[in-house]
């Protein structure tokens, strides 16, 4: 079966950090519409510092995710720090003992990450959070994998599903987090966490596909 060595995949973490840092202003702007306008600041601070910790010679993907998760837990408070922190830490943990990632271990990794987010934050699908990107992305990935699609195709499906998941948050009423205070008024805006999550999954998917 197709797989990518974790070593080769290491630099993808830098790509993920880059996309967040580049879109920091955009993420804050979305958060500003229905939240407190700091999502881009929080995320870019965490990902920039993770980038600094990772240094010029990227370690393998597992180590990269572990460092990312730790940095977020160390330096970023609010909701983002612990949510994304445990997302990446638990994904890193699921890779323990491996030196390559394939379709099934990627699926297992994603499940571990999503479970961590849901376990910690308690958000359900439809609450207008990053879970609304994660849940359909992982479900679509699972479906494709169950159909026996190759890793590359599953990753494409994940990418598309995360984009659709993000778009779907626009019409949701927030039921968790700061935006939930606004009730109906939160409808009509994308969710900031969903937007950053879609960027991260997109960069991850693209990065892995480059090696397949």
């Amino acid at each position: 079966m197709d797989s990518v060595s974790l070593k080769d995949a290491g630099p993808i973490v830098a790509d993920m950090a880059a996309v967040i840092v580049e879109h920091a202003a955009y993420l804050s702007e979305i958060d500003g519409a229905i939240g407190d306008g700091d999502h881009g600041i929080n995320m870019s601070k965490g990902f920039r510092r993770a980038g600094e910790r990772l240094g010029p010679h990227p370690p393998d993907l597992a180590q990269g995710f572990a460092t990312l998760g730790e940095t977020l837990l160390d330096e970023i408070g609010g909701s983002t720090g612990p949510l994304y922190g445990s997302f990446f830490l638990d994904m890193a943990a699921s890779l323990k003992g491996r030196d390559a990632i394939d379709r099934d271990s990627f699926g297992a990794m994603l499940h571990a990450g999503v479970a961590a987010v849901i376990d910690l934050g308690g958000a359900k699908t439809g609450d207008k959070t990053l879970v609304d990107v994660l849940a359909p992305a992982v479900a679509t990935y699972d479906e494709a994998a169950a159909k026996g699609e190759p890793f590359h195709t599953c990753l494409e499906a994940l990418d598309r599903a995360s984009e659709a998941g993000l778009e779907a948050t626009r019409d949701m009423v927030a039921r968790i987090g700061r935006a939930s205070r606004l009730g109906e008024r939160s409808r009509g805006h994308l969710d900031a966490g969903a937007a950053s999550c879609r960027m991260l999954l997109g960069a991850l998917s693209r990065g892995l596909r480059r090696h397949l």
Partner: protein, 334 residues
């Protein structure tokens, strides 16, 4: 925005510098720049007391670090929870070998960061137990009390938990007393103006001039009603009605705390307290401990909050125990 800041992104760093310079007798730095411990902490043989929360509420949280109160505090950005690691480091800074009680407020970010921090501590064999303050009656109905925010009642909970720890009670006993304290405590606030986070440069919510937001949260969270501003007397009645409807206080002894939200002149807090005292008397409630001042603020918000804690003999004893900190000094007889 016209304020006393340097780089608005670095207000917490700059404030910590000043805090440590001003109070070398009370506060000590740790390796984590967002964790401050009490001079003399950790005290071996004693349960450590930790809290933490977003900045901009000063004297909360750091202003309650000191003997008889908090052993170590985690500081977040303005109005944002401290990181999980900072809570974790605060636990370590407070640990005197008998475990740590983390007494904090019920906010999504704090809940998650504390939860992660407790996991990190557990891995190292450090036992941390928590009490989550949820005293704000306006933030959810009584049936959903676990969703309520923690506000100024946290201060009284810290006082109780810390005094109990000073009595050398074990971790479980400290947690029981602190939980009893917050269960016996109710608060509500009224906002009269928005506040401005320096990094944002402008308020991120508004209160219509001439109106008041009843039940406002400490970060400007919407309350239960926006109504034309009433007299201080009516504000007191409104707040006390909400508190007294939520928990029977009649005939009891209480600790009462009136806090300004930042910009309200102290003389107006006393005007309000005068009416609170009247209402207490009418309900045969005896205010054994009275705190009036800027105890838990929201930057430059105009407004006020009222907190009542129902006392039994234990809570009364623990509130009375000596303590010294920036925000609260008890027993400084002279």
């Amino acid at each position: 925005m016209n304020r006393v800041v340097n780089n608005p992104e670095e207000v917490v760093e700059d404030a910590v510098t000043g805090l440590l310079a001003a109070h070398p007798d009370l506060l000590a730095a740790t390796d984590n720049p967002r964790v401050i411990r009490a001079v003399g902490a950790p005290k071996s043989g004693k349960v450590g007391i930790v809290t933490g929360g977003g900045s901009g509420h000063e004297p909360a949280f750091v202003g309650y670090v000191g003997p008889g109160l908090i052993d170590a505090v985690a500081l977040g950005e303005v109005f944002a929870s401290p990181s999980a690691r900072s809570f974790h480091h605060a636990f370590k800074a407070a640990d005197g070998g008998h475990g740590v009680a983390c007494l904090y407020g019920n906010y999504a970010g704090d809940n998650m960061n504390v939860k992660m921090a407790v996991k990190l501590a557990e891995r190292e064999g450090l036992v941390v137990k928590t009490v989550v303050a949820n005293d704000d009656v306006a933030s959810a109905p009584a049936e959903e009390a676990s969703k309520r925010r923690g506000v100024a009642g946290e201060i009284l909970t810290w006082k109780v938990g810390a005094a109990r720890a000073d009595e050398r009670a074990d971790l479980d006993a400290v947690i029981v007393s602190a939980q009893k304290a917050i269960d016996a405590t109710r608060s509500i606030g009224i906002g009269l103006s928005a506040c401005t986070i320096p990094a944002a440069g402008k308020p991120n919510f508004t209160i219509k001039e001439g109106h008041m937001e009843v039940g406002i949260g400490h970060h400007g969270e919407p309350g239960v009603a926006v109504v034309p501003t009433r007299s201080a007397r009516d504000m007191a009645a409104l707040m006390m009605d909400a508190i007294l409807a939520d928990l029977p206080f009649a005939g009891e002894d209480v600790a009462v705390l009136v806090s300004g939200l930042g910009a309200t002149p102290l003389m107006e807090l006393y005007i309000l307290y005068g009416h609170v005292a009247e209402i207490l008397a009418a309900h045969h409630i005896a205010p054994r401990h009275r705190f009036v001042g800027n105890y838990f603020t929201s930057l430059d918000m105009m407004g006020v909050s009222v907190t009542l804690m129902r006392l039994d003999a234990e809570l009364d004893r623990l509130i009375s125990a000596p303590a010294r900190s920036i925000g609260l000094t008890i027993g400084g007889k002279s």
